[in-house]
Symmetry: C2
Subunit: 380 residues, 2 copies
């Protein structure tokens, strides 16, 4: 069976993470994604390495985000470069970019100009903070978007300073929203023949991510309050949280405090068994449980909690996770070993079709690797 996006052609002017992450998903789902890059340097992510890891001259991070794509180099300050890209646009279904507001206008590839070339184009743009207002020229960088968004009061304990999420969460979510918007626009194009412009921003995406907390705040005026210890979600009652054990840590999900105390043989919390007390006295309850969980190793608690049907999980690191049978059977790891004289391991697309995992084993392209073949194919 064909991949769902087979036959869809995407031109990606996007760089770094948010825009290319949308392109990665479209590629995983079967689209043909062509990166439009400037000569000599290309996507700046090529030179951005995690743990100083490189593969065939590009960063492993770049390969992670750009597997399965093609690369076309064009100097958009030269008329020949502009002409070639205009011809590619005439054949494309989707164009994406994440330049700062104004740049695409300057080089003549803003939505209106692109629509003149290809009337039913689906055009996706990523910004940091939208296209109006005092922040529109602020650098669209993940940590800055997190800081401005109010997200810092969600993780960590109440006495800790504001704590960021240790992953580029705004970039990742914004990329997923871009992919959603592009796909929805593609559905409309197939039904009604019209294209359109899809706009997402780091800030709007990270605000949507906080819809639970923001909705609570907008209707009550109360800021989120983290619990003193074992905070795992500022709006959840005890016992919800992570607890140290004698040899590791264990996650305790929501449930009946009475049932939990029976499962782990913990006395002294009887007066807090009702739902209201579980929230208002959560700090005391968590402190009490904390002393209790420390006494035995994780496996001991897993047995007790399983016997009583209380929801829990051990806290795993990458090492213990990747040695689990449950991880292995998911087939979440794939080897990229095509298209370049190196190979590396990475994760695969998290979406399955007809329950089959989708592997996309092509490494990211060498800068400009497809300029010649694309020129021939499209008569550029």
């Amino acid at each position: 069976m064909k991949l769902p996006l087979q036959g869809v052609m995407v031109l990606e002017f996007s760089q770094y993470l948010a825009g290319p992450y949308a392109g990665l998903r479209l590629s995983d789902l079967g689209a043909r994604v062509i990166k439009i890059e400037r000569p000599n340097t290309g996507d700046a992510c090529r030179a951005l390495a995690t743990k100083n890891q490189w593969a065939d001259g590009d960063s492993v991070l770049f390969h992670t985000i750009n597997r399965g794509k093609e690369s076309f180099t064009a100097d958009l300050k030269q008329p020949e470069g502009v002409l070639a890209v205009r011809k590619l646009i005439a054949r494309a279904d989707i164009v994406t970019h994440n330049f700062r507001p104004g740049i695409m206008e300057k080089i003549g590839f803003d939505y209106e100009s692109v629509k003149d070339i290809k009337p039913d184009i689906v055009y996706g743009e990523v910004s940091g903070y939208g296209h109006v207002g005092p922040w529109k020229h602020k650098p669209g960088q993940d940590l800055l978007a997190q800081s401005l968004s109010g997200l810092m009061w969600m993780s960590n304990n109440a006495d800790a300073p504001p704590t960021p999420f240790g992953i580029a969460v705004a970039d990742m979510l914004c990329g997923t929203h871009l992919a959603q918007g592009l796909l929805a626009a593609l559905v409309r194009k197939k039904r009604q023949g019209q294209g359109g412009k899809v706009s997402v921003s780091l800030l709007e995406s990270i605000l949507d991510f906080q819809f639970e907390g923001l909705t609570a705040f907008l209707n009550s005026g109360d800021l989120p309050e983290r619990s003193v210890k074992h905070n795992a979600h500022p709006y959840m009652a005890a016992p919800y949280g992570i607890y140290d054990t004698a040899d590791g840590a264990i996650a305790i999900s929501m449930g009946s405090l009475e049932q939990l105390c029976q499962a782990i043989g913990c006395a002294g919390l009887e007066q807090y068994y009702d739902k209201r007390a579980m929230f208002t006295h959560r700090d005391f309850i968590k402190a009490h449980l904390s002393l209790h969980f420390r006494v035995h190793p994780t496996a001991y608690w897993q047995k007790q909690l399983s016997d009583h049907g209380y929801w829990h999980a051990p806290v795993l690191d990458y090492n213990s996770l990747t040695h689990q049978d449950a991880f292995r059977v998911l087939n979440m790891v794939q080897k990229l070993d095509q298209g370049r004289p190196v190979s590396l391991y990475t994760t695969r697309c998290p979406i399955r079709f007809n329950r089959k995992a989708r592997f996309n084993s092509q490494l990211a392209p060498v800068l400009g690797a497809h300029t010649h073949t694309l020129s021939e194919e499209f008569g550029l």
Copy 2:
């Protein structure tokens, strides 16, 4: 112009967060989303309140996730209920559920059965950990998925215990992946006439979210290491992080340490100005900067950093954020005031079409509110 998914009909058997979050986005983008709920109780999220906030008998959280949807109640243990739902399926484009593996088979609405009713149906299923292996019956709950996924070593400082993300990040990402998969399948349906089954799981989604760290680990064997203080991303060099100021906190993005030190007038770090030292000595550099930033208020540092073009942002909470002009011009807040005798504020869809914000002002439906009208409309 029509919304992109106008004319698309979705039946949502999903409950709680991950599945309904996909339905919310489809509804925001114009689809007609009908919740199939059991009589008397319905989606269990109706009774799950954040901050004990309620609106017209349902939790505000339920309204947040289910705005704009319809509700159809059916007892799927009774033949009449099954028959009515079969008739609805015959008219639907998409069906979603997040029951544990086996339940939909038991009630006769697994993919094969639904496909017999509607051959080109797009069928979406959410699980905790996939459909094979030792974890397939484990409860699919956000904190448990986070714990098993290795994510706990990303946020917070090196000396802190494993720290969860204080938001239901696995649920949210899994919902966005479900929406992506459903939309991609819909594109294929429009092009090739065939439906298909889309499967996502909390664990696969949260592993994809960590593709940077997991790829680094898979190729090096090294676990992520958080910096001792001011951790904001385990793979980033100093100065990347959040620093306390005299009256708040400030986010310092990546950039040249030399340029930063000049901007803030900080001496003593000259020997660490090269890129390699900025990573290997990040703990020392951050500790040094920390002492420096404490001396002046945030506004003072903002001025210095802006004058020197160094990327930074103040750390805002919901209160300070929502008073910013930059926030107000985004129009990210909407009032839900239609369909029920109450109103409340929430965020809106983060995706814009033709730069226009999309508002969806219908409150979540009363349980079964549309059973009668849907019965008439579809002759159930």
